[in-house]
């Protein structure tokens, strides 16, 4: 696929003609995945036949709990290995490529449970994000050949902290940040490497409504800079608000694709979220089925529950 242009609007307008079907081919995909299968024992967590992610657009990955979204994220970024499958970034195959090398290619992710480096200051967290640092080699670090580069990195880091409204906390330990601020720091840190594709795993989880608005603005600004964004999210308002394209996963498979409005009225999506019998009269066995499903959902939620977010969630 030729990468003609990355002007902000091109990614979105190009999606207008794409059919609203699972696995639909995109005019200019940055990521292509084929037959990616990940099993945990008897459970098939991910079984994606074909999916493409458009360059220069914001793509949302949604689906009910346990749909395999985060696992798919981990597979794409090299943090987990599938049993089979092929996937590529910018046409370069990524199977068996370790996570750090995926990041160096320009595909940087954030985590559902934020991973800030608690005992490093914000500015040190940011500096760590820069790639190709001479001082990160053993001899380079020892001999101090990194001063000039460090000054450039610091300048860039300060500008990003300013943009993400964290500049006044510059020298504080990252461990003192609230949950929402951690999300901001992680996103800012990811940008230190100038990634082509930013992968955000639940950027809104545990973030208060005021901060949510600013985070939304930041995600949109990534696209306006010509970057591609793929994010996992449960917050449907956010998905509707900022995404150009939505991919819906359920039980490990891609079940629907399309622009946000059409996807959310898609019968397959409603079925995936609510079960396929949700609009039928409640006969006795249906009631029983719903109770069972509810019990499963509670289990899944409990398994998904994140101790960090319950403590930090509402502080920001």
């Amino acid at each position: 696929m030729p990468a003609e242009t990355t002007s902000p609007a091109s990614g979105r307008t190009a999606l207008a003609d794409v059919p609203h079907e699972p696995g639909a081919p995109k005019p200019d995909p940055i990521v292509v995945a084929d037959n990616v299968v990940r099993r945990f024992g008897g459970l098939t967590a991910v079984d994606v036949a074909h999916v493409e992610i458009q360059r220069g657009a914001i793509t949302a990955l949604i689906g009910p709990n346990g749909a395999g979204k985060t696992t798919f994220f981990n597979l794409l970024t090299g943090f987990d290995k599938p049993q089979s499958g092929e996937w590529s970034f910018n046409g370069r195959p990524l199977a068996n490529v370790p996570a750090y090398r995926v990041a160096r290619m320009g595909m940087i992710r954030t985590f559902q449970l934020t991973k800030v480096l608690a005992k490093l200051s914000l500015i040190e967290n940011m500096r760590l994000g820069a790639t190709e640092q001479r001082g990160e080699r053993f001899l380079g670090g020892l001999l101090g050949v990194w001063r000039g580069q460090e000054a450039e990195i610091t300048e860039k880091a300060d500008a990003l902290l300013e943009r993400f409204l964290l500049a006044k906390l510059r020298d504080d330990f990252a461990g003192t940040l609230s949950g929402g601020q951690r999300k901001l720091l992680e996103m800012a840190r990811a940008l230190m490497a100038d990634p082509e594709l930013v992968m955000l795993d639940e950027p809104m989880a545990g973030v208060n409504p005021a901060l949510k608005q600013s985070l939304l603005g930041h995600v949109k600004s990534l696209r306006d800079e010509g970057r591609s964004v793929l994010f996992v999210e449960h917050d449907m308002d956010m998905v509707r608000d900022i995404s150009d394209w939505v991919i819906v996963m359920a039980q490990g498979q891609v079940v629907a694709e399309g622009p946000p409005d059409s996807v959310m009225s898609d019968q397959r999506v409603i079925d995936a979220y609510l079960g396929s019998h949700h609009d039928q009269d409640l006969s006795e066995d249906v009631v029983e089925a719903i109770h069972e499903a509810a019990a499963e959902e509670v289990d899944a939620t409990a398994a998904d529950a994140d101790p960090e977010q319950t403590t930090h969630g509402e502080q920001s």
Partner: protein, 331 residues
């Protein structure tokens, strides 16, 4: 009760060759555990490889002193690679188990009858320190008033503290650099560092090698200090003492291990001599029904253990640590 001699003997121990050895071992552990978060419980194994290979290359295989030092360092790197390749991809606690097991394997192997001709079995190796002793520029007893050392001991500790100082500068230069930043990042969360494009495995390997090399240098000094290398110098409690030294001084602080070692060996000797004097003589200060001379020799370890517990409860950051930094974990 002669407080003058208690104090002078304690100070002699706190500045003596043993304190040098533990300062070096703790600097190694500081690189591993303090900065990179690697739970290396096999520092004694690195000391064994360093000390034994230096000694054996001189006594058994007749190499010159400097080549023997180089050989000791070389085999330490080999050990670090052997330990690191299978374990550094695993979780931190696996490394702890593997390293403690490896250090025991090394100790038993080096002391075994099978390798008697090379490493001297349980008696170990002697006579290797002659070239080192011949180079000693000090010929008279060094008497600084309150403390005094025999010329050979002073030669060991004089060189030892120079090496410790060089080691501290080395660690300081590394840890303020971007390289050190990656190490600290790995300690905090290695997946985050990986997601930013750093080859975490390679960095952890470098940390293990550098920590091991400090262990090997500590091993050289153990061997030179006693002019004898045998398995008892490198038992597992050596590693635990080195960890105590590190935590006492404060982990992830350049001077933590040095100050920790001085204080540790000062206190150990202080308590030992004090209880020794309290229970000795025809009319001891300590009533004999409470404690006799045999029990007195154990008191130092009991009290050190108690002190370590109190330290962990009331000053877990050690002497140089920053309490605020530690409090972050509690959130």
């Amino acid at each position: 009760m002669d407080w003058g001699s208690v104090f002078s003997q304690a100070l002699q121990s706190g500045l003596g060759p043993t304190a040098v050895v533990y300062a070096l071992a703790a600097i190694g552990l500081n690189v591993n555990f303090g900065y990179t978060g690697l739970l290396n419980f096999g520092e004694a194994g690195f000391m064994a490889i360093g000390g034994y290979f230096m000694a054996a290359f001189i006594t058994t295989w007749g190499l010159p002193f400097w080549l023997a030092i180089a050989a000791g360092l070389f085999f330490t790197v080999i050990l670090a690679l052997l330990l690191g390749i299978p374990t550094l991809r695993l979780r931190a606690d696996y490394l702890a188990i593997v390293t403690i097991a490896a250090s025991e394997i090394i100790r038993f192997t080096l002391g075994s009858v099978t390798l008697l001709d090379w490493f001297g079995g349980q008696d170990g190796l002697i006579h290797f320190a002659t070239p080192f002793a011949n180079a000693n520029p000090f010929h008279a007893t060094i008497d600084l008033g309150i403390v005094s050392w025999r010329p050979y001991d002073f030669w060991v500790l004089f060189l030892g503290w120079i090496v410790v100082a060089v080691g501290c500068v080395f660690v300081w230069l590394l840890m303020r650099s971007p390289w050190g930043r990656v190490m600290k990042g790995i300690r905090e969360d290695e997946d985050a560092v990986r997601s930013l494009g750093k080859n975490v495995y390679l960095f952890k390997m470098q940390s293990l090698i550098i920590g091991g090399l400090f262990g090997a240098v500590a091993g050289f000094f153990v061997a030179l200090q006693h002019q004898n290398m045998n398995p008892t110098w490198v038992a597992t409690d050596t590693t635990f003492f080195a960890y105590t030294v590190l935590l006492l001084g404060g982990a992830a602080r350049v001077l933590g291990p040095v100050v920790g070692s001085i204080i540790f060996w000062f206190l150990i000797q202080f308590l030992d001599v004090m209880f020794g004097q309290m229970t000795s003589g025809s009319d001891p200060i300590m009533p004999t029904w409470l404690m006799d001379t045999d029990q007195a020799s154990l008191m130092r370890l009991i009290i050190m253990g108690l002190a370590l517990m109190l330290l962990m409860i009331y000053r877990p950051q050690g002497i140089f640590g920053d309490r605020k930094e530690l409090a972050i974990d509690a959130r």
